[in-house]
Symmetry: C2
Subunit: 245 residues, 2 copies
């Protein structure tokens, strides 16, 4: 394996996680901070996506997987390459220049952007060199480069994706309630569903399996817990070629 970096090609990872408490779809970003040499002035103070150069002897997918692992320690998460970003001016905002000068970037770098879906509780933010933080996709902090743009495009892609494929379950704990699924759909899509209709629709799916277990520690009627069976989904799923234009 050659570990030479390709100087002008990178991957960037938009990591989505869902907070069932605040019912917020979040993005994991990394603190970026730089002071002037004298330390008297803060040159850069914002957040960026995690990304890195692609190595000479590495596939793009492997590169993204590697970056995610360094960020979260996790492998085998849902991953999608959704778009390449390569505008000539994507790294040349005024506020990014000190950072670039410091890091020795190639100004014309094309980045292949991926998004990941994972269960928030699997990520340990403590044990890490970098300062990482979750932000609601609806309330992002100041972001460097074109990273806000990249996140928003990832989010648009996710919106479409979750209507056509059961990716929603990648963001939920293994055991979940119907209402949690509904809340998550609502967070992502920004619309509300009728709970009775939503519930009926989901429960009728063969791959949504009621388990012999109920929510604990709630001060009201505890919910029935369910699981998603990817195996059953794959078996019974048949593409409906419904033209919805």
């Amino acid at each position: 394996m050659k570990f030479e970096k390709i100087p002008n090609i990178s991957v960037d990872c938009v990591v989505f996680g869902y907070d069932t408490i605040t019912k917020s779809l979040n993005v994991l970003v990394m603190k970026r901070y730089l002071e002037s040499e004298t330390g008297s002035e803060v040159l850069v103070d914002d957040y960026v996506l995690t990304g890195y150069h692609v190595y000479e002897n590495e596939t793009l997918d492997d590169s993204a997987t590697r970056v995610l692992k360094e960020l979260t320690g996790l492998t085998n998460q849902y991953k999608k390459q959704f778009k390449a970003f390569g505008d000539p001016d994507r790294l040349t905002n005024e506020k990014d220049l000190p950072w670039i000068k410091n890091e020795g970037f190639n100004l014309r770098t094309i980045t292949i952007a991926y998004y990941f879906l994972l269960k928030t509780e699997e990520v340990d933010l403590k044990n890490s060199a970098h300062q990482k933080k979750w932000f609601p996709v609806k309330d992002l902090p100041e972001l460097g480069f074109d990273h806000r743009h990249i996140i928003l495009e990832a989010y648009e892609d996710l919106k479409i994706k979750c209507l056509a494929e059961p990716v929603i379950f990648e963001l939920l704990p293994d055991k979940f309630t119907i209402n949690e699924v509904q809340d998550l759909y609502q967070s992502i899509l920004g619309i509300e569903f009728d709970n009775r209709n939503f519930r009926r629709k989901l429960i009728n799916k063969k791959y949504i399996i009621a388990i012999d277990e109920k929510q604990v520690g709630v001060s009201k009627k505890p919910s029935q817990l369910y699981m998603f069976s990817k195996d059953i989904y794959k078996k019974i799923f048949q593409k409906n070629y419904l033209i919805s234009i």
Copy 2:
């Protein structure tokens, strides 16, 4: 505008066209031919997608548009960036090596792949330096590099896209019959629809407009011609957040 090529970044264009006569979804590819220096041996003889390096001061989209223009003379066609391809070995098949040696490629080139949808009759294959040819996506010739792979991924993306957006009309003449639309859907999706149901569904759309004109030169009852109004579509279209998992 700097016309310096970025040596390791290219765009490749999958150009789709539809042949209403043969009812075939076709891809436009370019002949690739190379003889040994003595002329005694054919080193390369197959087809490739059209692509080119991205220029230093050019967006990826502009780069793709430029390549399409050089290939077809056309601008303003439907265009979608659908995936980046960057496996380390994507250009290093045995049969591609003589070509690469001849052209002076960078062996680790990442390509940003686009597909275009256009009306076959608008393309003039005659007046061009290169030898270009349409092939059915279901019956592709021998292709160089990873271009078969790229075409098949473009095709998969198109299949999904045409179910959700009215891109189908990019592939048809301005005036078309309902049956032509159905045939095209069937060619793309590889399934059959009931003509009576398909017809009703389409005719009920406000943006499918019957014009005061009928097919000519047919030896049976001539079909009613229709047009697609993108304006009306944009006005009345409302996203249905139908979860179909």
